[in-house]
Amino acid sequence: MARLPAPVEELVARFGPHAQRVPAGGWSTRGEPDRVVKTHCCFCGQQCGIQLKVKDEKVVGFEPWEDFPFNRGKLCPKGVKRYLQDASPDRLLAPLERVEGQGFREIGWEAALDRTASEIRRIQAAHGPDAFAILTGASLTNEKAYLMGKFARVAVRTANIDYNGRLCMVSAGAASKKVFGVDRSANPWSDIPRAEAILVAGANIAECAPITTDYLWRARESGARIIVLDPRLTPIARTVDLFIPVRPGGDIGVFNAMLHVMIERGWIDRRFLAEHTTGWEAVEEAVRRYTPEVGARIAGVPASLIVKAAEIWGPARTSFLLHARGIEHHSKGVENCLAALNLVLATGRIGREGCGYAMITGQGNGQGAREQGGKCDQLPGSRDLENPEHRKVIAGVWGVPEESIPHKGLSAVPLIEAIHDGRIKGLLLICFNPLVSLPDQRFVREALERLEHFAVIDFFLSETARHADVVFPGSLMEEDEGTTTSVEGRVIHHRQAVKPPGDARQDWRILCDLAARLGVGGKFPYRSTREIFEELRAASRGGISDYSGITWEKIDAQQGVFWPCPSEDHPGTPRLYEGGRFGHPDGRAHLQSVEWRPAAEETDEEYPIVLTTGRVVAHYLSGTQTRRIGGLVDQTPQPFCEIHPRLAEKLGIRAGDFVRVESRRGALVVPAMITTTIRPDTVFVPYHWPLERAANRCTIRAIDPVSHIPEFKICAVRVARAERPTGPMAELAPEAGGVR
């Protein structure tokens, strides 16, 4: 019953997105703030420190927070404008209920909570406990992420809970866990400027992690040489020492061939490998056939570039690897990361100053949210849901029988497939906008339309929430207190700036209210998020991501605490693996040999061009928040298709044209951006927009066999010149999915 209750235009008119350009109360009344709150930006895993100005109980502006060590006051445009969320006219202020043909009407909290609780019970009674699923998000605080996992397993008792970190960090996390036994960046950012060689693999740092730019430049000015691997000449690639315009999916060709050259030239730390690792022989054997020429054919670049990369990376005394979605969003995303990590371990350059690697988390709490049990296969403390010992520990913390904790459920994409084929009938969703962010949008929409009950907790009516039966108005980051864990593994403190407006409620209170109606209120007795944190600390004790020695006071005193922090007198662990001690029980790093294999959908005569997708600096994820902030909308109002002039000429596309990008699954029409900064065999469209402007109409529902990350970076398309779109969808404001 989750079809749209009213035409899109009507829903947009009432609920937005509308671009807010003026602070709450207007510019003229802003004046001196009543208070200034030190907290963090909610957009992206860098989690920059920022101060929010509050006047008349509204967030009305910002002031840089120059004392916070990670960013020292620096912010990207998202951070600068994030405060405007609080002035949005689209803010949900009361629970909503779908009314067929009319849209939504406001209902009371009691009625809304009762309805969803009784639907959970009805669906589970008729179809089994796993027929009701939960999808959550990695932009939630640690406290809320922890609560989501507990709510699923103790209150709803469904195996099917997963999160949108599945679209972000899981390939990197799975690879790190395999190799090091720990899923966390190995080093604090302060190690980057101390490296002599830096390899940036598939990370558009300037746009997706802008603050990291200054760290790279500091390294560079001290003489570091930087290599960038990307199909697009990104802003950071413009000035580096070596840019390798790798074919999407060709990264393993570069990594394995670099290692091949390093072995030939003797740039391998064999003593380190013998003392601290396993698996080197198999890796050495595997890369034997990856000569620079073989690697070059796979990577679609000249072999000389690969040799140059090896010559920069191989003999350096210190080095740092940074990787992100560019190598991770693949049906071989884990393998791509494994091959990159082999370059780190083969040189023994890890666990000391200026030596190591980091995976650049994309989402606000991409690191923390995955440690607290919001994933289908994990329990708090980064524990394994199928490990009997781990289950026992958590059952003890929760005060439930071990056997009552469900086993491993479905990850995000298979979970949507289970909705589509009718195995899952009900869904509670928070902090996730699959109708922008998941691949194969038509399929996702069909799935949502088949739900018998669909409940959403959100602060705005996202494109996905439009399909809900019940919408609970939740809270923005600035309306609650809690912690997140940044890209560095640094646990930090988000302070509450204002209260939720109207009848909106803090997300965790909504979950506790639902839990009470499901008969387990006693397991959710929290009076504050600090109490949830205290339970989280206890649950993580002895786990890999051990927060047990972290208190909010310690976070404030130390400007963040790096996990693991196993006791209150422990200062935390900024740098992992010092002394070559890794996270596996044998204390060794486990190298994995990797062979290149093709993508799920390679190009052919019918669909001859690769579409790759990604982000722009002005927008965050599915745009639910940033498409409502005027300055950011104006900066990048709509998606576009980057296309090389050679390809454009072949296709008869000129500057100013619209183009139709079409795959086997769907199509979108966007303006062409003709530029020499992309490979001629590849086009790029950023994914932050909905409806007919959603890049994910084209992308493929293929996932990595280990991490289950979708292959957002490769699908086969054809591209043609198109007329300017017309019709009701095109006439929407660009932030709502129209064209300008």
Binding site: F62, P77, V80, E221, V617, T676
Partner: protein, 208 residues
């Protein structure tokens, strides 16, 4: 303590527009940015460069103002036009060699970057240079720039026959002593610089 100064390092710019967005937030100009981000030629490069007011020692904008509406503070900051005096003639807009001042139709007045005078005069850093993620805009000491960056600091510009010295400094490659901008003669065809080959990915792929 050494004096804080303003530096632009265009090679670091990533085009993120944090500077422009932050400038809009100043309470004195309320949603209007006084600085610009120049996109050099997106078809050919991702290069961008931020343009704040360079605060010329002898400001051309003030010299050409028929209403004497543009004043320089004793510490060398050239301010926006004085509202009661500005006649909206746009002489300054046309004369500025850096393209900084803007005539704002809505208020019939020229406004421009004023070095965040409300912040810098009380010891705070300008908004744009504080937030700049790449520190292409930096407000720090000359010693700090010399210690941490390669390249040369210059404050001297040559536009045809005119020499301009500025309070804001620019970090340029080691071999440059000044920045020369040759003038285009009106009526003659403009010679465009050839596209920078290394910014063409297709050319990189063909390298043998």
């Amino acid at each position: 303590m050494a004096e804080l100064a303003f530096f632009i390092d265009p090679s670091r710019c990533i085009g993120c527009r944090a500077c422009v967005q932050a400038c809009e937030e100043c309470d004195t100009h309320r949603g209007r940015s006084m600085i610009h981000l120049e996109v050099i030629d997106r078809g050919d490069s991702v290069q961008t460069t931020p343009q704040v007011c360079m605060h010329c020692q002898d400001p051309i904008c003030a010299r050409v103002c028929p209403a004497d509406a543009i004043k320089q503070t004793p510490d060398g900051v050239t301010q926006s036009s004085l509202k009661p005096r500005c006649i909206g003639c746009s002489n300054c807009v046309l004369a500025c060699p850096f393209g900084v001042p803007r005539y704002e139709v809505a208020i019939d007045q020229m406004m421009k970057c004023d070095y965040c005078y409300d912040r810098t005069s009380v010891g705070k850093r300008p908004m744009c240079a504080t937030v700049c993620p790449s520190q292409a805009l930096a407000f720090t000491t000359r010693e700090e720039i010399e210690r941490t960056r390669r390249g040369r600091i210059i404050d001297r510009w040559v536009f045809g026959d005119e020499v301009v010295e500025t309070k804001v400094m620019v970090v340029v490659p080691e071999d440059a002593l000044e920045v020369r901008v040759d003038l285009v003669q009106l009526g003659k065809p403009v010679e465009r610089a050839a596209p920078h080959q290394t910014y063409d990915v297709a050319a990189l792929l063909e390298e043998s």
